[in-house]
């Protein structure tokens, strides 16, 4: 277990400050670890996935005896040491050939993990096309209704978004939209329990393309894609989902970041902005209205009325 370090100089103090929990978090760091035995496919996959993430990702080159589904401690240690919350562990065995485990951490503990097997793989180097400049934010396209219905797919979608989204930005330069990651899910769930993928015959197609924007005669350009790689065909194996309560805490938005509700202002059906004013209780008898002499309460003098009518005729 890591011992808490007391900062002895300003440099370590700054590093510790960077690592402590904040309201708006830093970009997540990812570590790519090799298991006790790996294959060439797995090694290439790890390095390619690491490249896609250019900054904030550490590729371990040595092999480690790590079994994520059995033992959490070594994984917790690596993540704590490198201040990372995303990990990919690659391994190869007869039972599980070309295996990748994608996972996330929350608060120093494993939040969720998904194990995939690589059926087909084509590395970035094999596809001889120009690559985009790294460090750009990618576009995402998720195809297939399984990403809305199946829990495995939903978790995988969330994980992929988390892995490759890059820095959270308020605005983006349109010319910086250089590549798109497309994940397609096929197949159907044969078992009634959607969380059990063992009877699942579907595949996941992982593709990355560079975007070329061409003239279209209008303001919005025409999009053409060019293969960039890496290309994978995944199949789900084991999974470990997050506990409900933990996930709830992890996705909690702090009050400061929540969009502020404006009270008493709304939009009516036509589309006009309408505001509501709360007026207190009013005693209609004592209201101050416009003074009209004619409506004043007259005394029981009939002469007055005659004068009045004469006055009126004159005016």
């Amino acid at each position: 277990m890591l011992k808490t370090i007391k900062p002895k100089n300003a440099r370590t103090k700054r590093i510790l400050k960077k690592r402590e929990p904040k309201v708006e978090e830093n970009v997540k760091t990812a570590i790519f670890i090799r298991g006790s035995t790996t294959s060439q496919v797995v090694n290439d996959a790890l390095s390619d996935l690491c490249r896609l993430r250019r900054s904030n990702s550490i590729n371990f080159t040595k092999k480690n005896n790590i079994h994520p589904f059995d033992d959490d401690t070594s994984l917790d240690f690596y993540c704590a040491k490198n201040d990372s919350s995303l990990f990919v562990i690659g391994s190869h065995s007869k039972k599980r050939p070309h295996n990748l485990v994608f996972g996330r951490m929350f608060d120093g503990q494993v939040l969720d993990m998904i194990e995939v097997g690589i059926e087909k793989a084509i590395t970035m180097n094999e596809i001889k096309t120009p690559k985009c400049s790294m460090g750009m934010k990618p576009l995402f396209i998720f195809n297939g209704e399984l990403f809305e219905t199946s829990q495995v797919h939903k978790t995988f979608k969330n994980m992929m978004l988390d892995f490759y989204r890059g820095q959270t930005m308020e605005s983006i330069n349109v010319s910086g939209l250089e590549y798109v990651i497309s994940i397609t899910a096929t197949g159907s769930i044969t078992s009634s329990d959607s969380t059990v993928p063992s009877t699942f015959d579907g595949k996941i197609f992982f593709r990355v393309y560079t975007i070329q924007m061409t003239k279209s005669g209008q303001k919005v350009p025409r999009v053409e894609l060019e293969d960039m790689g890496p290309n994978y065909e995944f199949k789900f194996r084991r999974t470990k989902f997050a506990k409900e309560e933990v996930y709830k805490i992890a996705t909690k938005i702090p009050k400061t970041l929540k969009p502020k509700k404006v009270k008493n202002v709304g939009v009516n059906e036509i589309g006009d902005k309408v505001g509501r004013i709360h007026v207190g209780r009013q005693d209609l008898g004592k209201l101050q209205t416009r003074k009209m002499k004619g409506l004043k309460r007259m005394s029981e003098d009939n002469d007055r009325t005659e004068d009045w009518s004469r006055k009126k005729r004159k005016a």
Partner: protein, 269 residues
């Protein structure tokens, strides 16, 4: 004039940006993501996987780009067209829990009690003389004490003449009131010579390789003390010591020449 034909020709030159989909896509523009729930053609996937996936993704990406161009766009200098992204819709878990509010420090509690507020001084300050906002300190700031001005009022200084008189008086008062034959000129000369020697040897090589000035005495060093060897002749040593003693005691009671001592003391002070 009917330009519709020409417009059609123009449009047909370019490929369409419209995409037909059975179910419209869902978007999360904060993450630049698009979610397509339409069914894929299974046989096409099996037979020509890559091409089908490419064209299918191209359609989805086109829709996503269309959606991005519907966001408020601004033209920023040197950068290009920038689109303002909305907030992220999908709930992505954090990596660390929310920070707990720290208890106020001892100073913070005191300040709150007394109502002390921090007044941050701004970097720029309005300089009325120059008539513009200048930095309070630093380069081209108002803090430079008039060092760069061509004309400054003499604020803290007295008259030049007074200053000169002062200086000469100080010099005179620093020197001793000499009654003896030693005069000020000679003292100043020795003092100066001493200072010159000090300055000469205060270089990195202790003045060894300096070019000698014409007329300057080269050997300014004093004589080095010579000591007798520790393992010398005992007899000689004994004689030397006894002669000193005899010199002192032989004077028949007058060990100290008082007159000479006073004169020497006065000279030294």
């Amino acid at each position: 004039m009917d330009v519709s034909a020409q417009l059609e020709a123009q449009k047909s030159k370019y490929k369409s940006i419209n995409v037909e989909k059975q179910v419209p896509l869902q978007f999360d523009l904060g993450l630049l993501a698009g979610f397509d729930v339409n069914a894929l053609e299974e046989n096409k996937l099996k037979v020509e996987t890559d091409n089908y996936l490419k064209s299918y993704t191209r359609d989805g990406t086109q829709l996503l780009i269309n959606e991005i161009f519907r966001l408020p766009l601004t033209s920023v200098q040197d950068v290009g067209v920038v689109a303002e992204l909305p907030k992220i819709v999908t709930a992505i878990p954090r990596e660390k829990p929310l920070p707990k509010p720290k208890p106020p420090t001892r100073w913070e509690r005191f300040a709150k009690l007394k109502g002390i507020k921090k007044n941050k001084k701004s970097r720029l300050i309005y300089d009325e003389r120059r008539g513009e906002w200048v930095p309070r300190w630093g380069y081209k700031g108002t803090n430079d004490d008039g060092a760069n001005e061509w004309l400054n009022e003499a604020r803290h200084r007295r008259n030049i003449e007074e200053v000169e008189i002062d200086a000469s008086q100080q010099l005179n008062s620093a020197q001793p009131q000499l009654k003896s034959k030693v005069n000020a000129k000679v003292l100043k000369k020795t003092e100066l010579r001493r200072q010159i020697t000090m300055a000469k040897t205060s270089t990195a090589s202790l003045g060894k390789f300096d070019k000698p000035v014409k007329g300057e005495p080269s050997n300014t060093k004093g004589a080095k003390r010579k000591f007798e060897s520790n393992l010398g002749d005992i007899q000689k040593e004994k004689e030397a010591r006894l002669s000193i003693l005899n010199k002192i005691i032989d004077k028949k009671g007058e060990i100290l020449n008082v007159r000479k001592a006073i004169a020497k003391n006065n000279q030294q002070n």
